[in-house]
Amino acid sequence: MTILFGTLGWRPQSLLPSIRSTEHLERVVFYHSDHAKSRDARSKVVEFCRSLGVPCTAIEVSDAYDLLQAAGQIRADVRKEKVAGAELRFNIAGGTRLMSSAALLVCILEGIPATYVHDETYREIPLPLLRMTYGEGLTPKQRDALAFLVKNREKRFSETALARALGVHKATMNHHLRKLEAVGAIERQSDPADGRRLIIVPAPGIELLLG
């Protein structure tokens, strides 16, 4: 049985072709914004699902222009279904550009087959996605340092303070941080409280890559 995820904008036609084409469709879960036209589209999709006898869950995204927040929410929902062993598909055609991009990001990170529906022909187009597991590209120590920084995002750590917190030599920490900086996972910024000090800041949304 397959669960179809989707993002919905103002046009229900962007999601309906995937509902029609999904074999053994068990449930539809879709995300939409709080815009009145998006809510109208939601009603039409819900009605369509009801007429087919397919259970449907509509989730209103609090901020359809916050890519990282939307990606975090979608990923959490997708993972819940994956853990339950469901087969998943994602239609990323509708919604704001940022919502679609958030869904695309989740599909890449979780390896979910994604489709787009052509704006004029309403034909489904499968996207050539392959799962990218970034976490595996980092060493365990790099992952630890990054996870620690993400967990303590509101705190300010210098390189030395970070080395002390994780119990490694500062030269070792310097090595790991240089690697993380080279791939854009962290940034060094001036401490607003002390301009002479550099603090280590994780890149926005990097927690999504850690899995």
């Binding site: 990001l105 052509h118 187009i125 050539p128 990218m132 080279a182 791939v183």
Partner: protein
């Protein structure tokens, strides 16, 4: 000196691109858009601001075309310095293609409309890194329909164990990149359309002359 390239997607309204130009420093600007975008008044105004910009025309409703063009330009630009993608303007398909290309090639991707949002893409970590060496060898060597036995011999000749190659073939089949079919009692391997779209990522790096 490194030449910083900004590859930005563009539609009819140049105002969606302007925040990217202001916030993402560049030495070379490449705009990717549909045919009609480059005939628009918005593009003419942008050209007046940036006479040296390079315009790349794509079919903005064809994901494959957009993806291939952007990836080609990323590879070309990467040889001269760092590359950034701004996926703010243009059709949604163009945006999706730009983001996919950023992930596939491991380059920074941004939205600036108007506030800058950087997507979590690791620089320099591209699609090929998601494959083990035997899978990469299979992707490099498979050209078209070929018998499994003959192909195994070819890859084994590159120093891989037969069992490793088998595992790689099975893994690529599970990823939807190759198909194994039975023809006249023989197993034949053939690449899928997805394989063709992604093959360029597995080209061997040029070695020393």
């Amino acid at each position: 000196m490194d030449l910083r390239t900004l590859i930005a997607t563009i539609g009819f309204d140049e105002r969606h691109v302007l925040p990217s130009l202001r916030l993402l420093p560049y030495d070379r600007l490449v705009l990717v858009g549909g045919r009609d975008s480059f005939r628009s008044a918005g593009f003419r105004r942008l050209r007046a601001l940036e006479p040296d910009l390079e315009a790349v025309r794509v079919d903005a409703f064809d994901l494959g075309d957009c993806l291939e063009s952007i990836e080609t330009w990323i590879r070309e630009a990467r040889a001269t310095g760092p590359v950034r993608i701004s996926a703010t303007g243009g059709t949604k398909i163009l945006t999706m293609a730009a983001l996919l290309a950023a992930f596939h090639e491991g380059v920074e991707a941004w939205y600036c409309d108007p506030d800058p949002v950087r997507l979590p893409v690791l620089r320099g970590v591209g699609l090929a890194q998601a494959f083990v060496p035997a899978e990469r060898a299979v992707m490099q060597l498979l050209r078209g329909r070929t018998s499994l036995d003959r192909f195994l011999a070819l890859v084994v000749g590159r120093g891989f164990a037969r069992r490793t190659v088998f595992a790689a073939v099975r893994s690529l089949a599970a990823k939807g990149l190759i198909e194994q079919v039975l023809e006249s009692g023989r197993t034949v391997l053939r690449p899928t359309p997805r394989f063709v779209l992604l093959r360029d990522h597995f080209r061997p790096e040029p070695g020393k002359a």
